[in-house]
Symmetry: C2
Subunit: 186 residues, 2 copies
């Protein structure tokens, strides 16, 4: 049986000492995510591989709600800011909430029908992700982007579509500032 | 169709400017919640009626997840700290997460079978509420207690059982400090 618990979230580092699910994605594992393959290889050669983002989650077996944090390092590959893979949920009736704790970014969203939206990620902002909108977070600032996420335990992650086709919009740096542009490769 | 949105939460005041659901409970509306009826009447006579706690929620029609804030004023009636009414969810498979933003308190929880637990509420702590555990928040500090909550949109609130019988444990002040004691009236 699930028992009540108090789970501390460090909103600056994203650490969740009592998390029971963890994974890290390194830059090197994200080959293919970025448009500029040369910039990607140059980055790895010059900077070496390292964590791009880390996820810590808290789940109890018979609970309907799970939560955790995602901590994204700052950086760019070519003109594209560091980003997550992006995913739909397996359960198309499941949305999510991303509550930014520190740092600055943008959440790219799209439907299967081709609609797109962006939500600014900044401390104190809960990004509401409706059911069946794919979502990818992008760290557009110089500091780690840390957000807490909350969704149904059975939502599930479906990365395939976004990994195969990318997203319709890119979050890129243009003249030292964020620009949301159409993805020419989509 | 639900659309993505960025919803700002003020973690100090609990205000959610874009919330679309609101209610306030005044002290006067909470007659019967506190054990010490004389202290309750004295409080109302001397201090007047006023907000005990305020709830702001954000809901989109076809979303599975809702969220919002609860902002609890500090105070006591007799030796009992200000508290919420406390509730089970109508859907017994639905839990919840209370993420404390500011202030200090305690979350009292109990099952229908008589098990009880307490979770300390402090900034950065996500209180995990398993399905079918009744929960009541108590502001044990001198400042407002502000927490963000996240649950399924269809969880529903069932206040009846706790309003009729109270909770098995009370959060009271003893020698200037918090004590969790058995409720002699349960």
């Amino acid at each position: 049986m699930s028992l009540p618990a108090g789970i501390f979230i460090n909103g600056v580092t994203g650490e969740v000492p009592d998390a029971n699910e963890h994974y890290i994605k390194t830059i090197g594992e994200l080959r293919g995510l970025y448009r500029d393959v040369t910039a990607f290889d140059t980055y790895l050669r010059d900077c070496g591989d390292g964590p791009a983002y880390a996820v810590a989650g808290y789940r109890q077996a018979d609970s309907d709600i799970i939560f955790g944090t995602t901590t994204m390092q700052p950086g760019k590959i070519g003109d594209e800011y560091f980003m997550t893979r992006g995913h739909y949920h397996v359960r198309r009736d499941c949305g999510e909430v991303y509550y930014t704790q520190s740092g600055h970014g943008v959440l790219l969203l799209q439907t299967r029908e081709g609609e797109t939206r962006e939500v600014t990620m900044a401390p104190g902002v809960c990004a509401f992700i409706p059911p069946d909108w794919a979502h990818r977070s992008v760290n557009t600032g110089p500091e780690p982007l840390v957000f807490a996420w909350f969704c149904q335990a059975t939502a599930g992650h479906d990365y395939g579509d976004i990994l195969s086709h990318g997203m319709r919009k890119l979050a890129v740096e243009r003249a030292d500032t964020l620009a949301i542009v159409a993805n020419p490769g989509f």
